[in-house]
């Protein structure tokens, strides 16, 4: 099983007394697309934030691309550079233009020459179809455009894994499609993706596996077709009946 890129074993996490993750086990293979769904507060976001250690897990082990996540800061920075992340609130840097947002990390983290970084950024912006907005500042763009820029920014680091934390939840309905389109074409390009989302249409289209989480546990993990056709767990059934 050499193509395992993420291995989570018995991961536990607490916020104070509250246990957010309870013995989570999850393996992700290369080029696999996984959609994580579940009611709010079920620990979905925390789960994927643990993968690039924006949150620390307190028990268990997480191995990303052969490196175990530990206290070692240099190691974490190395892993973070390989794991792209897209947030619900976009989190673009408002004081930099879209192009600078995209080139900042390649230049200063990967030490890429500025010219090359800009070419790369323009290329990625072209893929998400906002190349004409490159000189603008985030505040001047619509939500959908901002989120696509954020995807381009993450891709500029040429990551091996992309994490999406409810990328469409803060968007107006008519902008959701353009962001999902960008994600679909990224998935078709063969990226390893873990997506927290409520967009079941997207899950049906691209996911290899769907995970249902509740109260910090992975309740159900099935290939996409089975997941929607015959969910085993009662909570999954209830959730699906409400959301579909």
């Amino acid at each position: 099983m050499s193509d395992k890129i993420i291995e989570m074993k018995n991961v536990n996490k607490w916020f104070g007394d509250f246990q957010v993750l309870k013995d989570v086990n999850l393996d992700v293979n290369q080029k696999q697309k996984i959609v994580v769904c579940g009611p709010s507060g079920s620990g979905k976001s925390t789960l994927i934030r643990c993968i690039n250690r924006l949150e620390e897990h307190q028990k268990g082990s997480i191995i990303v691309d052969g490196n175990e996540l530990t206290e070692d800061t240099k190691n974490i920075e190395k892993i973070r550079a390989e794991v792209g992340m897209v947030f619900q609130q976009f989190n673009l840097f408002p004081h930099l233009s879209i192009l600078d947002n995209c080139t900042l990390a390649p230049i200063w983290v990967k030490k890429m020459p500025k010219k090359q970084a800009e070419e790369l950024a323009m290329n990625e912006l072209k893929k998400v179809q906002i190349v004409d907005q490159a000189k603008k500042f985030p505040g001047q763009l619509s939500g959908g455009q901002q989120q696509r820029s954020a995807i381009a920014r993450a891709l500029c680091m040429e990551p091996k894994i992309m994490l999406f934390d409810e990328p469409t939840s803060a968007l107006d309905p008519e902008m959701i499609k353009e962001v999902l389109d960008a994600m679909v074409s990224l998935a078709k390009g063969g990226m390893t993706m873990i997506v927290v989302t409520h967009e079941m249409g997207f899950a049906k289209e691209v996911a290899d596996e769907v995970i249902f989480m509740d109260e910090g546990m992975i309740v159900e993990k099935q290939p996409t077709k089975q997941f929607f056709a015959n969910p085993k767990n009662d909570r999954t059934k209830l959730f699906l009946s409400q959301i579909l």
Binding site: L54, R80, M85, Q89, N91, L92, F93, A105
Partner: protein, 423 residues
């Protein structure tokens, strides 16, 4: 024409009310104007008390008459909406107008009409107004302190250079903008120190040595505030970062430092720096008094700057930290490129506030025997040949300080606009 009711002005007889009202209002203002500028009381035939209150009464009636809602005349509606909404507001408006008119003649006469500027002794001041001769004669001392007259060009040149270099912040291209902080925080202070050290202090390149005890006046105000400003800023920045650090030792040291300096009065700090501090130093170690004072004020103000900057850091959404981290940036890269540029931009008004306070605190250095502009004034006013002109001196200092502070506040405001981006 409908019936005219003077208690309830309405729109039907608009022009009648308008003309009567304006006429009464102008009579009121004219009466005050005459009595203030020409000491003529046109209502002297009335009893004293009535004569005194008449302008106010006339004004109130006048403003009452023009208080017509939706008159259709734009300026009148504007007036009624903003300053003539009720009788109470009308009274306030009238009082303010009267006070302004009343106060113009005495101020004018003190500042200009009855003031003296000719001559060069105290005896030249014969008028009842200000004696600007005093300021004129002492101007060199007020500006340069005891700095030798024939060497003062050195101060002038270094200040001109420093001001020119400070304005570099206005012209960088998009490309160089990110080095601006580096320039102001590191490069500029070094240039400034070298300039002041070699040009004003002298002692090298054939320039005569002038000890810091001779420095003084406005130029000392500038030197002290200038160095304190540029030193306290980076120190404050590191303290702010330290206070938010995850390392407990660093955090407690920062908190302790900030709370210590914020808890003691500046005057004590200055006194300590000059009297107590040298006692702890080895015998042969000498540190100039001016340097000690600058360090003391810088550390004192750094504590305040730290808290202002911390406010900016806390105002940033957590997502900015997350995004920077998720791109693989370490602590310093994240702060230099993402966090600090945004946080500092947010706190420009707060920092300007602290800096203005700092400039106005500099006169306190008199407690250690350094005489900047207010110190020189105090010295000059006790000169036996020039007794009794404290007022002129303080007015002069107030004007100078106001100009400095206003310029600084405009500069900060411009920076604010320049670096404004939408969120």
């Amino acid at each position: 024409m409908s019936k005219i009711n003077f208690l309830k002005p309405d729109k039907q007889n608009l022009s009648t009310y308008l003309y009567t009202g304006s006429f009464l209002f102008f009579i009121a203002v004219f009466d005050v104007f005459l009595s203030s500028f020409f000491k003529i009381n046109i209502t002297s035939f009335l009893p004293n008390f009535v004569s005194f209150l008449l302008p106010l009464i006339l004004g109130i009636i006048g403003l009452h008459l023009v208080r017509i809602e939706f008159s259709g005349i734009k300026n009148l509606d504007l007036l009624n909406k903003n300053i003539n909404t009720s009788t109470f507001n009308a009274v306030l408006t009238l009082l303010i107008i009267f006070i302004i008119i009343k106060s113009i003649p005495p101020i004018m006469s003190w500042f200009i009409l009855d003031a003296n500027i000719a001559g060069d002794t105290k005896e030249a001041c014969t008028g009842s107004g200000a004696c600007w001769t005093y300021i004129k004669i002492w101007l060199r001392r007020f500006v340069y302190g005891m700095y030798p007259n024939d060497l003062q060009w050195r101060i002038n040149i270094s200040f001109i250079l420093l001001i020119a270099l400070a304005f570099v912040g206005y012209f960088p291209s998009e490309k160089l903008r990110k080095f601006l902080t580096l320039y102001y925080v590191v490069i500029y202070p070094i240039i400034a120190f070298v300039l002041i050290y070699y040009l004003i202090s002298g002692g090298a390149f054939g320039l005569e040595w002038v000890e810091t005890g001779a420095w003084g006046g406005l130029s000392l105000t500038f030197i002290v505030s200038f160095f304190c400003l540029i030193f306290c800023f980076p120190v404050g920045m590191f303290l702010a970062l330290g206070r938010r650090s995850e390392l407990p030792t660093l955090r407690y040291i920062s908190v302790g430092f900030i709370e210590f300096w914020r808890g003691v009065p500046l005057i004590t700090v200055l006194f300590m720096s000059s009297v107590m501090f040298p006692m702890f130093l080895p015998e042969d170690f000498f540190m100039d008094k001016l340097v000690r004072v600058i360090i003391a004020i810088s550390l004192f103000e750094a504590a305040y700057v730290a808290e202002v900057i911390r406010g900016g850091l806390q105002a940033l959404p957590r997502g900015q930290y997350d995004a920077a981290k998720s791109l693989g940036m370490g602590y310093w890269k994240m702060h230099i490129f993402v966090i600090l540029p945004q946080a500092l931009k947010l706190v420009i008004p707060g920092i300007a506030n602290t800096f203005l306070a700092l400039v106005k605190d500099t006169p306190l250095i008199f407690v250690v025997g350094l005489l900047e502009i207010v110190g020189m004034l105090n010295l000059a006013k006790t000169n036996p040949k020039w007794l009794g002109f404290a007022m002129e001196g303080y007015v002069f200092a107030a004007i100078i300080f106001w100009i400095i502070c206003y310029a600084m506040s405009r500069y900060s405001y411009n920076l604010e606009i320049k670096y404004k981006t939408e969120r």
